[in-house]
């Protein structure tokens, strides 16, 4: 219960930040050259002034900025994200359609990056400064320095074009009409390359943090105590070092949540996945500012929720947090 109230308090503390984001973005977008109506008109191929005037009225774009901001925030509270000019549907609906793909991509990337990063970091720390460590650390650094979109393209080239093992893009095999398990496997097949691409950079980060964390914890006093009790090296690592070293890693998940969402924009574009990231890109290009705002709002919410879960997890792992003194 303590854990929950603690995390809830942190959540409440994030609300002002959210407000700042939304207000800031809304005001920022007022500076954008051209608005929704301009985009619509451009799509329609031009229109006469009176019709443009009417459209503006329809979209309530003729009111003053502060009124519109208030109106916007009020509607947000009701989760009404407005209408998408391009898709002709409520923004909320469009976002909801695109959400699963992004969540799936992020979830699996995170899982792989964390698990592999943890494992490799432990190995590197155990064999510090010897060849496994040098190899792993160097690979990590190379992965970190690789632009994700480039890796994706090269991955497509090697595995899809050259070797033909994996699909070059898309979410599922079009027109195959697969159901149930077959469909799940098909989607999984399509997600292999994108997931690996997105996971790559974060794997490098987790690896480095885990290695550093393990090395730092190894030098703490209680590890010496554990050795003085006669525990074997393996036991010292598993029962004393590992759990303590994981703490910074858990924090990192929360900190990297936003970056991962950003990364998904690029990965989804490279692999033509129908996710939030690509939606954001499209709405920038097509000047659909409502949708862009909507995506940003949902992204921020997503990051806040992830941080909430991370806080709960951290409090579970570290009893000093709930001591709350």
């Amino acid at each position: 219960m303590r854990i929950f109230s603690l995390a809830a308090r942190r959540l409440a503390a994030a609300l002002p930040a959210l407000l700042i984001i939304l207000a800031g973005l809304f005001l920022l977008l007022q500076l954008a050259p051209g608005d929704t109506v301009d985009a619509l008109v451009a799509q329609m191929g031009g229109g006469d002034p009176s019709m443009i005037e009417q459209l503006r009225k329809h979209y309530a774009l003729d009111q003053s900025t502060s009124v519109r901001l208030g109106d916007y925030l009020w509607r947000l509270v009701h989760l009404d994200l407005g209408q998408s000019a391009i898709y002709g549907k409520p923004v909320a609906a469009v976002i909801l359609e695109r959400l699963p793909a992004t969540l799936l991509l992020m979830g699996s990337s995170l899982a792989i990056a964390f698990a592999a990063g943890m494992a490799l970091g432990v190995v590197a720390a155990r064999r510090v400064n010897r060849w496994p460590d040098t190899l792993i650390s160097t690979l990590g650094l190379v992965f970190y320095a690789t632009p994700s979109f480039w890796f994706g393209l090269m991955g497509i080239f090697v595995f899809a074009i050259y070797l033909g093992w994996l699909p070059a893009g898309g979410y599922s095999s079009v027109g195959a009409g697969l159901q149930g398990m077959a469909q799940v496997l098909d989607i999984a097949w399509h997600l292999v390359l994108p997931t690996l691409t997105l996971a790559l950079i974060f794997l490098a980060i987790y690896l480095r943090i885990m290695r550093t964390s393990m090395l730092e914890v190894s030098n703490l006093d209680f590890v010496r105590t554990a050795r003085a009790k006669g525990l074997t090296d393996t036991k010292v690592v598993t029962r004393h070092i590992l759990r303590n070293a994981l703490l910074p890693m858990v924090t990192l998940i929360g900190l990297q949540a936003g970056t991962m969402l950003g990364g998904s924009v690029v990965v989804e574009s490279v692999f033509a996945l129908p996710g939030l990231g690509r939606l954001a890109y499209e709405s920038v290009v097509q000047r659909d500012l409502n949708t862009l705002l909507g995506v940003v709002f949902v992204s921020a919410l997503l990051v806040i929720v992830i941080n909430f879960i991370v806080d709960m997890l951290y409090a579970r792992l570290d009893p000093r947090i709930t001591a709350g003194r």
């Binding site: 703490l220 006093d221 209680f222 010496r224 105590t225 554990a226 050795r227 003085a228 009790k229 006669g230 525990l231 074997t232 036991k235 029962r239 004393h240 759990r243 303590n244 792992l317 570290d318 009893p319 000093r320 001591a323 003194r325």
Partner: protein, 559 residues
């Protein structure tokens, strides 16, 4: 006997196996080398000592003496790249240095137990006490969970931890420092080892807690017949519990013998110098102090409020304190951690704002001054800090640091640097070294720089917050002497904050004892030390280790 003959006699005594009783742990010619880039070659050189069954051997030395390395070397717990290169460690007939890893592991904990200095960091913060003590049993025995729990409860009761059933499920941060150390002792003695190695286990504890832990160790040791290798830098502790003593300097064992012999008739010059530097608990004859008051604190209070929005947690750091400092006199403020003495010091130099009360300095209430007046008055009250490593900006040259104060107050640079040179001479530092950086000086020298800095503005009152607590005992004596000399030479009134009663006895004229933010007793040094009235003061004095021992005064003048 000449000094040189003393050395060789002591050395001969030290290297021979003198004891007639059975040795349960013997070090023979132990040599430990440091990695090539360290400041010296050897951590330990040719160290031979014997620990007899059922007795307490104290290994005493200053920092860098290698005493902690000795403990680490025995169990093979040396830091990376530090190795034992010669010698043997005999335990129950086997040479521990030659044992294969798994056999050495079975000795650790079961044959030889170990406790460390910092109980907070020596226990894993993420696991319960019961879990960690139980680990001793799971590693070395095949007892069932239930049996282990019974044993752990019994152990916790043995070390007098209140409510063992709660303690067993508690995490380290939920216990106090003293309680954590008790838990560590319980853990080390869980398997009834023949030897207990204690590496400065009470250094991080308060005086009263230290007394309890020392008592506990001695009590357990007698009951279970454990031999104890107790490492410390404090001769008072040695006087309190040791049966035998070994003195180390720079990795070499310089003297070894029964406690009576070494403490009261030390042979080696280094031992004699060390013992001479220990301040006796008996205060020197009182000197004449003026009746005029230069600083008068009236009902000073400082309260901290914390705990989120409603600020529920209230801590009375300083509560209704009234003290007076006579002109040219030294007022000592003694107390343990949490007594509020450091907070009070910072209130006096206005690093902290007080919530109530007055600080009267020659008719001016310092607490009520505006910003500008405050800056003028900083010249009158200055502070010397505790940490020689943290109190000097590592990126500034020492000359710069000392001259900074006057420069900020409008003194031209040339003049300020000249003053800095004078001050360096005054505090016993080479005036040519103004251009050096702090890291080029030793701890004691850095404290002198801090002193010079404080004196640069020509203050009338000097507040010294534990100025010698972080120094080795021989250096401590030098800095105290310096302070004593300067206060007379410059006519300073000194406010001396410390937790060390021996130090307070030597340098203070009057003493105020603080506990939980309040002053519980004041008086002249002779009154407070000779006939304490408040129960807390009595408890504090009773807790000073080795209070019954008077360091031989003969060599004090020579030292």
């Amino acid at each position: 006997m000449s000094s040189a003959q003393n050395v060789s006699t002591a050395h001969a005594t030290a290297t021979k196996a003198v004891s007639t009783r059975d040795s349960i742990l013997s070090l023979r010619g132990l040599t430990v080398e440091l990695p090539p880039d360290a400041d010296r070659r050897h951590a330990l050189q040719n160290v031979s000592l014997d620990l007899e069954a059922g007795r307490i051997l104290c290994v005493v030395g200053e920092s860098g003496s290698g005493k902690s390395m000795t403990a680490g070397a025995i169990l093979g717990l040396l830091p990376e790249h530090v190795n034992a290169t010669a010698g043997e460690v005999f335990f129950q007939g086997r040479n521990l240095l030659a044992l294969p890893d798994d056999e050495l592991r079975s000795v650790r904990g079961a044959g030889i137990g170990m406790i460390f200095q910092e109980p907070m960091t020596a226990l894993n913060p993420l696991r319960t006490i019961g879990d960690q003590i139980g680990e001793m049993f799971t590693t070395h025995t095949k007892l069932s969970k239930k049996e282990i729990e019974q044993r752990v409860l019994a152990l916790l009761a043995d070390v007098h931890l209140p409510s063992p059933e709660q303690a067993i499920r508690a995490y380290p941060h939920e216990l106090s420092g003293g309680q954590r150390q008790r838990a560590m002792i319980a853990m080390a003695l869980a398997l009834e080892p023949a030897v207990l190695i204690a590496d400065e286990p009470t250094t991080a504890l308060d005086v009263t807690t230290q007394a309890q832990i020392l008592h506990l160790i001695r009590d357990l040791q007698r009951r279970k017949g454990t031999a104890v290798l107790f490492i410390t830098h404090d001769f008072g502790v040695v006087a309190e519990i040791a049966d035998r003593v070994a003195v180390m300097q720079h990795g070499v064992l310089v003297e070894q013998g029964e406690v009576d012999a070494v403490l009261n008739h030390p042979v080696h010059p280094y031992t004699r110098a060390l013992i001479a530097a220990v301040p006796p608990l008996l205060p020197p004859p009182a000197r004449a102090v003026s009746q005029d008051i230069i600083l008068d604190l009236q009902h000073v209070s400082k309260t901290y409020r914390s705990g989120g929005w409603r600020r529920r947690r209230v801590t009375h750091a300083v509560s209704d304190v009234s003290l007076s400092l006579p002109v040219g006199g030294t007022l000592g403020i003694v107390g343990e951690s949490g007594s509020g003495k450091s907070t009070l010091a910072r209130c006096i130099v206005r690093l902290l704002k007080i919530d109530q009360g007055q600080i009267d300095f020659q008719g001016v209430d310092l607490a009520k001054l505006g910003k500008r007046a405050q800056r003028t008055h900083t010249r009158d009250v200055q502070m010397v800090f505790q940490d020689p490593y943290g109190s000097l900006n590592p990126r500034k040259r020492v000359g710069e640091l000392v001259a900074q104060g006057p420069i900020v107050h409008g003194v031209p640079r040339e003049q300020a640097m000249a003053r800095a040179r004078e001050l360096f001479e005054l505090v016993g530092l080479d005036p040519q070294s103004l251009h050096r950086y702090p890291h080029e000086f030793s701890g004691g020298q850095r404290q002198r720089v801090g002193l010079a800095r404080a004196l640069a503005l020509g203050p009338k009152i000097l507040v010294a917050d534990e100025p010698v607590s972080a120094l080795d005992v021989s250096v401590q004596a030098q800095v105290l002497d310096l302070l004593a000399r300067l206060r007379v030479q410059l006519g300073l009134s000194l406010l001396f904050i410390t937790h060390d009663l021996r130090v307070a006895a030597q340098i203070c004229d009057r003493i105020a004892v603080m506990k939980d933010g309040r002053v519980v007793e004041t008086g002249t040094v002779a009154e407070v030390f000779g006939a304490p009235r408040h129960p807390y003061t009595q408890a504090l004095l009773a807790a000073v280790p080795g209070r019954g021992w008077q360091p031989p005064a003969a060599d004090r003048a020579a030292a």
